[in-house]
Amino acid sequence: MSTTSGKYEVVIGLEVHAQMATDTKIFCGCSTKFGSGPNSQTCPVCIGMPGVLPVLNRKAVEFAIRTGIATNCTISPYSRFARKNYFYPDLPKGYQVSQYELPICEHGSIEIVVDGETKTIGITRIHMEEDAGKNIHEGSGSYSFVDLNRTGVPLMEIVSEPDLRSPQEAAAYMKKLRTILRYLGVCDGNMDQGSLRCDANVSIRPVGQKEFGTRTELKNINSFRFVEKALEYEIKRQIKVTEEGGRVIQETRLWDSAANVTQSMRSKEEAHDYRYFPEPDLVPIVTPKEWIDEIRSSLPELPDDKRHRFISDYGLPEYDADLLTSERSTADWYEEAVKAGGQPKAVSNWMMGELMRLLNEENRSIEDCLVKPGLLADMLKLMDSGTISGKIAKTVFEEMYRSGKDASVIVKEKGLVQISDTGALETAIDEVIAANPSETERFRGGDEKLMGFFVGQVMKATKGKANPGMVNELLKKKLQG
């Protein structure tokens, strides 16, 4: 789908919920670890017993500020929490402590690249809030279960401006945000475990029209693929409704990933009145400039800066730089390999090719793979010096990946040193020529296509270790001679 769908322009804004990677919850000391037994990580504060009070986790504020700085936001010197009131079994207090009027970060932006074009997407605000628990519908009884381990896990809600114009842009924005959050170490970005979730506001309008169309809000979008699919479905649906002379109504719709459709959840009239008001149990958050400066100076190099540096410092194409900087660990691995003497473009090729392929096969992360950057650099040196051929290098690399051994050790153990000895090669070539008299005659008769056959035979005879350049040269000499 392009930026416009025929005569309609698509307008999308995303609300991304990111679980902060703090060790403890936002208002109590309970662990935030994922996957523990139901209700094992709870206390009177997070389950909202009578008389208990919240105490703000300073780390959560720091993480929100880090994110705000990295997304070019203004950090509010004075910000406060508010209560969002509604009844739901997974919300033990009957209200969620969130931010409303005075969020911690506002007026930011990030850049995305789609089809080679760079676009700036505005960020309206980032605010902190506590996560709710989880209702579990299991068994055949007429009741459900509630797990409150997630209750009180700190969240950031990152709200974009309605600047996105296609599902692809939305997915790119979401990916970029994830990359930034992971760089900052403020969110693990794990969508399967719900660490990163997203709601989308989407509307269409005739091309050229200034006013926004009526929007619907899509909930429950929990993967990059679903971001695109859900939006594509919803846009088609809105266009269909409009084309058929109907009107899109303002409502909340739920993405059903099994049926690949969005379904109406509640209309505007049924929307909750959350009755926000300032949370009286918490004092306003005052963020002194010195603290913000301190956090700013502790930020790592951000993905965009790194990408630009990779292009200018290492002469990498944009594509390579983009891919290598999408994860901080990948970028760090790359730079270490280059520092260890690997030629920048060669390192990039090996990483994007062989290394990524092997990692993907095993679904393994670069941090816990056995090949270390120095090993790749050493292997590239063996190639440069002619000790091994490019073909052999693939075998060596795979063995390095499995065992973590040095390339030179593998080469020695497996006897993979390239044969560049003229005498040894000449003997092999003589044998091949002697064994294939008719092909030799045809070649000499002008059938030069047979050159490949001869090279193949020599390589076979030398178990692939022959220096290909030399084999070519010597063969030509011998066959023509």
Binding site: M49, P50, F87, Y95
Partner: protein, 484 residues
């Protein structure tokens, strides 16, 4: 010796001199309770077993010479403070059977000071009321006249002190809930500065107004209790990291030259004549002690009650949302979740609590927020400013605590607005967050106590205690006892 008639300070001497054992004090208190509780009904739960355990520990501490402020002193706790292992109901059916697995900071501190818990005192449900008639369980009588109310919401705490069913009590004050019952029962009640005492473990009514404080037989005991309770608590972000002075030291300093403000808005028509006369006589007494009396104005006083009933109910509507029948307390049956919620809340809450939840929900609703809640916040700022301005001229402000003495049971229950007006002199203090104390300053012709209120600057409990003590020592109202 009638130990139950003594004060904390008097018992302290006897205990420290080993003239009396903590167990003997408890024996006497529970005997007294056996004698009069049938008439007064001050308690919801008696905690005799726990009290004797604490008495044992208190005795050990005394023998080992590590007695503290309250070692061996029997104290009643309002039933909205969470006490670990002891049922805490807020006088509400909805919390019937709720036994907290944690202890409030205040009772933790009292425990560290060696107190003995006598029982959990009756109150208006969720501290909403001015007569203790809103208790979900039973009403409490005023020890001075059993047909009259003890005030509220800390009516059980005030009546227990006035009836000598404890030596001191702890209450909470959101709009006058310590001072008004103290006034009606002829005891001393102190509402500290907002943030002076931790609210952790106090079941919230209106978080930005609630504050815990002592009810005692005299001002000295009030100072002792405050010293034991006050101070910053990392568990309560709204508790202030402000140093706590030794309040007992403030007592006994003379008040010569001290400037006392009398706000003209607090001496209004319609006020009970005897209350008016007693308070004016008390002001004369203060003047005779060397204080300088000045008229001051608190021009926004007239907005206080309306402001309070918007802000307090707004917060309450949210604070009380957690009582949904799911995790603790009372649960009604229902054919689905929504019906269970509705039945639980319909059957669990009393009429006044429901009224306030509805008021607050309305005030916070989309379309009404600006007209009510927001306006209320603005009015609150103006009321605060009134006090800031007045305190530039004077050191304390003196007023009546309640416009009338104790009223008859049932007299105001059918007219919530009349009931709300019982608090017109106490509410502004909570809105401004300042400290205030109520102490006895007279009796009506039919023998009902009258209270004098002394308000102070933020975190200046010392000066109000000093003024209260000076007045108390020059009169004998504090030694008068209800005859039961």
């Amino acid at each position: 010796m009638n130990l139950h008639q003594l004060t904390i300070a008097e018992l302290r001497r006897l205990l420290d001199n080993r003239e009396v054992r903590p167990q003997e004090i408890l024996d006497d208190i529970y005997k007294r309770i056996g004698d009069v509780e049938g008439k007064v009904n001050a308690y919801i739960t008696l905690t005799k077993e726990k009290a004797y355990e604490m008495a044992h520990q208190a005795e050990e501490a005394i023998i080992e010479n590590r007695a503290s402020l309250l070692t061996g002193i029997p104290v009643a706790i309002k039933d909205n403070l969470c006490t670990k292992g002891i049922e805490t109901t807020c006088a509400s059916k909805i919390l019937k059977g709720f036994v907290p697995p944690y202890e409030s900071t205040v009772t933790t501190r009292l425990t560290e000071q060696g107190y003995m818990i006598v029982g959990k005192a009756n109150m208006d449900e969720f501290a909403m009321g001015s007569s203790t008639e809103n208790s979900g369980f039973h009403t409490t009588s005023n020890p001075w006249d059993l047909e009259r109310v003890p005030g509220g919401s800390s009516g059980g705490s005030a009546a227990a002190v006035a009836a000598d069913e404890c030596i001191a009590a702890v209450g909470s004050d959101t709009g006058g809930s310590i001072r008004q019952p103290a006034s009606l029962c002829g005891v001393v009640g102190l509402k500290p500065t907002y943030g002076r005492v931790s609210r952790f473990g106090l079941v919230a009514f209106a978080s930005s107004l609630d504050q815990i404080g002592p009810l005692t037989k005299d001002v000295t005991d009030s100072a002792i209790m405050l010293s034991a309770m006050a101070g910053h608590d990392p568990m309560d972000s709204t508790s202030a990291p402000v140093e706590v002075p030794d309040y007992a030291k403030a007592l006994g300093q003379e008040i010569k030259g001290l400037r006392i403000g009398i706000p003209k808005e607090y001496f209004v028509e319609g006020m009970d004549k005897e209350v008016d006369a007693s308070v004016r006589t008390a002001i004369k007494k203060l003047e005779s002690l060397g204080a300088v009396i000045e008229e001051v104005s608190l021009p926004h006083t007239g907005y206080a009650t309306a402001t309070y009933y918007i802000l307090a109910t707004s917060e309450a509507s949210s604070n009380l949302a957690r009582y949904d029948g799911v995790k603790y307390g009372f649960r009604a049956e229902g054919k689905d979740l929504m019906e269970m919620y509705m039945n639980t809340r319909a059957q669990g809450f009393g009429p006044e609590v429901k009224r306030r939840i509805m008021l607050g929900t309305y005030a916070l609703s989309a379309g009404y927020y600006d007209a009510y809640y927001k306006k209320g916040q603005q009015a609150r700022t103006l009321i605060k400013r009134d006090f800031d301005n007045a305190f530039e001229k004077v050191d304390v402000i003196v007023t009546p605590t309640s416009p009338s003495p104790a009223f008859k049971m049932g007299e105001k229950t059918t007219d919530p607005l009349q009931m709300y007006l019982s608090d017109i002199f106490t509410i502004s203090v909570n809105l401004a967050g300042i400290p205030a104390i109520s102490l006895p300053c007279g009796l009506t012709s039919n023998g009902l106590p009258i209270g004098l209120q002394v308000m102070g600057k933020h975190f200046d409990e010392e000066t109000i205690l000093r003024v209260a003590y000076a007045y108390e020592q020059s009169t004998d109202w504090h030694v008068r006892r209800a005859s039961l």
